[in-house]
Point group: C2
Chain length 196, copies 2
């Protein structure tokens, strides 16, 4: 028995990435087998290799395209006029983006150690680029005398950790909606950089 109905080439590829994304996020890269991914797609394990080189490349491409899409999406945001507005823009964008993609976020922060060294290096570059966007804003706001920040790099790492963390506990059915969360985190962020 080979394929059952119609040509699936353009369908199966994305479905594999979808299934892998979901399963990696839920159980972790190392704990998920190619056969589990295949089963989720409704296909035999061997068929996956018509679409991917190997398991490692599958993980890397998921993480890489997440980071690239994150960067593109941020670039596409309208540039705000002053540092404070840019910081608010970044904060709200980051939370919104991360709440919309819990699986990608989880993988990109958890599976770094399962990347082959060259893949890890490539991913790190993208992460640094994104962190650099926030660091830049903090520098500008600091230079303009708007923010009170002892160290822009540390503040960047602290704020990103705080903002990203939201996706580990936020539940769609919870007490607070996205808009509430966004506002609360923006208040904390603004105050953390010394703006009343």
């Amino acid at each position: 028995m080979a394929r059952k109905t119609g040509s699936h080439a353009e369908i199966t590829g994305p479905r594999i990435r979808e299934a892998a994304l979901h399963l990696f996020a839920q159980h972790g890269y190392a704990a998920v087998s190619m056969r589990q991914i295949a089963a989720e797609v409704g296909v035999q394990a061997g068929a996956l290799y018509a679409y991917i080189d190997d398991k490692q490349a599958l993980l890397f491409h998921l993480m890489e395209s997440h980071m690239e899409h994150l960067l593109e999406s941020w670039q596409a945001e309208a540039a705000a006029p002053d540092p404070l507005a840019r910081l608010e823009s970044f904060t709200r964008f980051h939370i919104r983006y991360h709440l919309d993609r819990p699986d990608e976020v989880f993988i990109s922060y958890m599976e770094l150690r399962n990347l082959a060294p060259e893949n890890f290096a490539a991913l790190e570059m993208l992460r640094r680029r994104y962190e650099g966007e926030l660091e830049q804003i903090l520098h500008e706001g600091s230079a303009a005398g708007l923010f009170t920040i002892a160290d822009a790099r540390v503040a960047t790492m602290g704020l990103i950790a705080m903002l990203t963390g939201v996706s580990t506990w936020f539940r769609e059915t919870g007490r607070l909606g996205r808009a509430d969360i966004e506002q609360i985190y923006w208040d904390m962020t603004r105050r953390a950089v010394g703006v009343a």
Copy 2:
């Protein structure tokens, strides 16, 4: 060939936990084999089972004792007189404790999904208990009119994520020392809760 020199029973047990801690933190629970752990200890894989029930129990006990020790250590800190001093105490304690135990921290935040359901539940209880300590401080400070916080629960999650994140990027050889980091994070924390 059996054991080579002396009685090792009281030595091997801790060494297994040490090796597992280090390897789990570096490569992830699912990616580490019992044979790797045994090799690190200098023993055959079968010998591990004189000290642990199975791999899952090994992971759970590492995480459980980390959380229990964390809670005990916090309880042992001198109780500060007012909410602001307590918040500073908590912030500095949390950072210091987490910087001293990067492996335990990594595992306890990364390997939750590899716990069997009943173990996960037990671990969650301990985490909630610890988070509750901070939440309580925020509530008290809020009630006393000292802090400006929209939602104590969200603030708790935000602050813990920020503070815990320090162990993902801090390097002993880096630009800043522990005391610097502690101070910078305390400044951000204090400001985040609306204290100038």
